[in-house]
Amino acid sequence: MRVTFTANGKPVEADDVWEGESLLYVLRERVGLPGSKNACEQGECGSCTVYLDGTPVCSCLVAAGQVQDREVRTVEGLDENGELGLVQQAFIDAGAVQCGFCTPGLLVQTDALLEQDAQPSDTDIREALSGNLCRCTGYEKIMDAVRLASARKCQKAGASE
């Protein structure tokens, strides 16, 4: 079947999609967006997290046909006018990236968290990221990164007021 949807603001089209395919497979193998990662393909790791119509979801659990005419935003769409986005930069600066396989999903989920609550408590951060497994960092630097992104976001908001 053919599936057309919007990915990171651009219309995309995938042909010969097998009906059982996931959005994750379509993104990675058919429309040139391999940033979302295929770590577990059962919703147990969060590495494939993308925005679907503005809500973070596991793209491995979305059937390709379900995204027809809908909007998807992936890690590849988190930049701000070509520059690294605030959350992306914070993850690099804090040392939150090691192997980086969990990073794309964490970035989307963190982005969504800070959109909802620019100053989350540590426990709120832990709850929000509890669906994103990381095997390298022990999460400490990830906590640092989210706190850093939060501080920068608040600073930016303060400066623009």
């Binding site: 097998w18 059982g20 395919e21 497979y25 990675r28 193998e29 967006l33 391999p34 940033g35 979302s36 990662k37 295929n38 770590a39 577990c40 393909e41 059962q42 147990e44 790791c45 590495s47 992936t74 890690v75 590849e76 988190l78 930049d79 690294l84 992306q88 930069q89 993850f91 690099i92 600066d93 040392g95 990236v97 090691q98 192997c99 980086g100 396989f101 969990c102 990073t103 794309p104 970035l107 426990t123 951060i125 832990r126 709850e127 990221l129 509890s130 669906g131 994103n132 497994l133 990381c134 095997r135 390298c136 960092t137 022990g138 999460y139 400490e140 630097k141 990830i142 906590m143």
Partner: protein, 786 residues
């Protein structure tokens, strides 16, 4: 402050670096930007025009004879390009890291649940899945050999590898064994010297590396009859060494390039999909990509050896250890993998970081029809540490001593002999590390008036509002070797090139080191900056065009390949200065490179690197060999077997819901001597990550195998810690340089994984008063409901 660095008194050398991004700094990862943009090409992201998908048929039985394999129906499926069995292998049919005992595809029998029997190449993963299901295999199912008792009685229960096909150093179903005797060994006379004796049986479950990036890669057939393989691995050259003979091509015709690696932790030391993708590409003439799904990943790589251990310690009434007696039985599963090295570590490190005048130790690895086990972070030392540290706590209790004081009283330090006879000739601050974690202020007690259920055991599951919760504190310390041991020369190679690009001096570093996330490439750039006085460093993709870098394992890469980069950069520096001497007739002996200039330390700048180098490029390759080691004597375990030792101490604070048996680790502190932190940010990241894998082993991670069958090959049932399971991990870095190591550094990655598990179990034990002789600790252990 959560992270502190404590520098040693005797700094080996003043490492001069003109750049904040040199050694000792924490510059950002060179691959960080690509990784946060989603543009970093992991092995599962690779794509090639005309590419096929490979997939394997795996055995549902742990032990069976294969009576027939019928691939005809699979071949008829439209979109299927090849279906191969062992009969299609053009070269040798076996491979293996240390012992070539594993068939690339099963030959007439299967020895573990999940062993690959046939492989398929097709135009879509779904086509490949359908084809795999159409392959008909007739099995004669046999009783699997899975328990120690069964393995040690092959006459009754059978052989995993029949005697005529046995390739290992052992015999029967014993893959490898190592004994050790130190002092007077353990005899009745020695036992009589002890006032107090504690004995115990301990068990460690089968842990999985559970890296997030699944095994994957792309094999592309080349016009010269060779093959290009892009793969996520820990050691390119040893992959090549194992794959090329199976393909029947000379090694130089198999070119490997490292694709992005999504974590490794030992699980990529053995081959997984490499041979299969290459065989299918060779047969079809088309590029073939294989990506394991998560369930296949659990079958496709080796795991941490589960262990059954007996420990006996004797001590005087004032707490001095008199003897240690131990037997460690490690289940190596169907194929050898790294079992011999795991056994060597278990036997030579199994006494722990303690001075014990008399030691008797035996470690064996079994062949069985359980999943193969091999390398995982801290191997051999992890299992033993749970045994000896539990013993230390029990001994302290028996003696009425503080558990930290007992450990400190017996702690090794520099100059002390290992039970192997090897004298520790660099700092071994075991007692101090324990003191550091002990002196950390404890986290505040649970505030029952302001409970946030998310911070309690059970968290969001809403199992307690404060009921049943008891806090416990536990300590542990561990020892691990760095680098490959027992006479193995795991040298590393680096090529460094210095040239002027766009008016700037630029260094290029080329190695075959597998960057698996640890940050080795960051460190390579730091070393080049420091040695060559330049800012710009590019990292060449890792491939087999340059010499071997050895494995990214055994905490060795910064030591070995970092060392190689240092030596190559030093050679480039020497060549550049020599060029200056020839051109300018310099006679100074204090010339260094700093800030883009050639400088006489006494006389100041001589010339810029750009002007001196001109159009020339200096391009040199160097090998780094660590000091030689020797194999352990088979019966006595004596010998200078290890390159370097590393130590980490931990304190765990836990809250246990003692009624439900649920655990929340509240804090896990670590103190580790790293010699010299080349990149403190990365070092801390390694320690925190290592501690978290240890936390997983302590309370949740286990591959459950019943009668040889894996019961939980998924992330639904093989649980690794989430961010809600992981506590703050404050780290103290001690920097006491090792005079034998480049920059005085000490391998970092494994020690925390060795040491942290027992501290968590000790804390749970303190909270519950339950013995806990098995890890992972399950709620059933804590509630008496097994």
């Amino acid at each position: 402050m959560s992270t502190r660095t404590i520098q040693g008194q005797k700094n080996l050398q003043d490492i001069r670096t003109g750049s904040p991004d040199g050694i000792g700094g924490s510059p950002l990862r060179p691959d960080g930007t690509l990784k946060v943009k989603g543009e970093f090409a992991y092995s599962s992201d690779l794509w090639h025009e005309d590419m096929l998908w490979g997939m394997a048929l795996r055995s549902p039985h742990p032990r069976a004879n294969i009576l027939s394999v019928d691939i005809s129906e699979a071949l008829k499926l439209p979109g299927v390009y090849a279906v191969l069995t062992h009969e299609d292998i053009p070269g040798t049919k076996f491979y293996g890291l240390e012992i070539q005992d594993q068939p690339a595809l099963a030959i007439d029998k299967v020895r573990y649940h999940g062993e690959a029997i046939a492989i398929v190449a097709a135009d879509h993963p779904e086509t490949a899945r359908r084809a795999v299901k159409k392959i008909k295999v007739e099995y004669e199912v046999l009783n699997p050999i899975v328990t120690e008792e069964q393995c040690l009685d092959p006459e009754t229960y059978g052989y995993v590898h029949e005697p005529h096909e046995f390739k290992s150093h052992g015999h029967g179903n014993i893959c490898h064994s190592q004994k050790l005797v130190h002092g007077g060994g353990v005899t009745d006379e020695i036992r009589a010297l002890a006032d107090v004796v504690v004995k115990g049986h301990y068990e460690v479950g089968m842990q999985d590396q559970a890296f997030l990036g699944p095994e994957s890669g792309l094999a592309v057939p080349a016009e010269d009859g060779g093959m290009d393989l892009y793969v996520a691995t820990q050691w390119l050259h040893v992959d090549r060494q194992q794959v090329a003979p199976v393909l029947g091509i000379p090694e130089e015709k198999l070119r490997l390039t490292l694709a992005g690696v999504g974590g490794a932790f030992g699980g990529r030391e053995d081959l997984s999909m490499q041979i299969h993708a290459c065989l299918l590409a060779q047969r079809t003439g088309k590029p073939v990509k294989i990506v394991y799904a998560r369930d296949e990943s659990f079958f496709g790589h080796v795991h941490r050896h589960p262990a059954k251990m007996y420990y006996e310690h004797g001590a005087t009434r004032d707490g001095k250890l008199v003897y240690a007696d131990a037997r460690l039985v490690l289940d190596g599963g169907a194929y050898a993998s790294a079992s011999p090295a795991v056994v060597g570590n278990a036997a030579s490190l199994g006494h722990g970081p303690y001075n014990i005048p008399n030691v008797r130790m035996e470690a064996i690895a079994l062949y069985s029809n359980n999943p193969s086990c091999g390398a995982m972070r801290g191997f051999g030392a992890v299992q033993a540490c749970f045994g000896y540290e539990t013993q230390m706590d029990r001994l302290a209790a028996e003696l009425g001593m503080d558990p930290v004081e007992l450990r400190q009283l017996n702690a090794m330090s520099e100059g002390d002999p290992m039970p192997t006879g090897q004298v520790i000739d660099s700092p071994a601050p075991v007692a101090r590390l324990l003191q550091i974690v002990k002196d950390r202020p404890l986290p505040p007690p649970l505030d029952l008036d302001n409970l946030d259920v998310r911070t309690l055991p059970g968290a969001l599951s809403n199992t307690s509002h404060g009921e049943g919760i008891v806090r416990g504190v536990g300590y542990s310390v561990g020892i691990k070797n760095v680098g490959f041991s027992e006479g193995f020369d795991d040298y590393s190679t680096a090529r460094v090139r210095l040239e002027v690009i766009g008016g700037e001096p630029v260094a290029m570093v080329h190695t075959a080191m597998a960057e698996v996330g640890q940050g080795g490439i960051t460190v390579h750039a730091q070393i080049a900056r420091t040695e060559l006085g330049v800012e710009q460093v590019t990292i060449h993709p890792a491939n087999t065009e340059v010499g071997s870098a050895g494995s990214t394992s055994a905490s060795r890469q910064t030591y070995m390949t970092g060392g190689a980069v240092k030596y190559a950069a030093e050679a480039v520096k020497a060549a550049l200065i020599e060029k200056g001497r020839r051109r300018y007739g310099w006679t100074q002996t204090d010339i260094i490179l700093l800030g883009g200039k050639v400088i006489s330390e006494a006389g100041g700048p001589l010339v810029s690197i750009v002007d001196l180098l001109g159009d020339e490029a200096i391009d040199l390759t160097r090998e780094h060999h660590h000091r030689p080691t020797v194999p352990f004597d088979k019966e006595t375990g004596q010998g200078f077997g290890h390159v370097q030792y590393t130590f980490c101490a931990n304190r765990a604070v836990v809250d246990v819901d003692v009624e439900l048996g649920l655990v929340k680790v509240v804090e896990l502190t670590a103190a580790q001597d790293v010699g010299k932190a080349l990149n403190p940010l990365s070092v801390v990241g390694q320690i925190q990550g290592g501690c978290t894998q240890a936390l997983g082993l302590a309370v949740m991670e286990e591959i459950i195998v019943k009668d040889g069958k894996v019961r939980n090959a998924s992330f639904t049932d093989y649980l690794i810690p989430t961010i809600l399971d992981t506590p703050p991990i404050p780290v103290d870095i001690l920097e006491l340089p090792d005079p034998n190591a480049p920059y005085g550094l000490r391998g970092v990655g494994e020690a925390p994984t060795v040491s942290a598990t027992p501290s968590i179990v000790a804390a749970i034990r303190q909270a519950t008063g339950i013995a806990l002789n098995r890890i992972p600790v399950r709620p059933e252990h804590l509630t008496g409901t097994l």
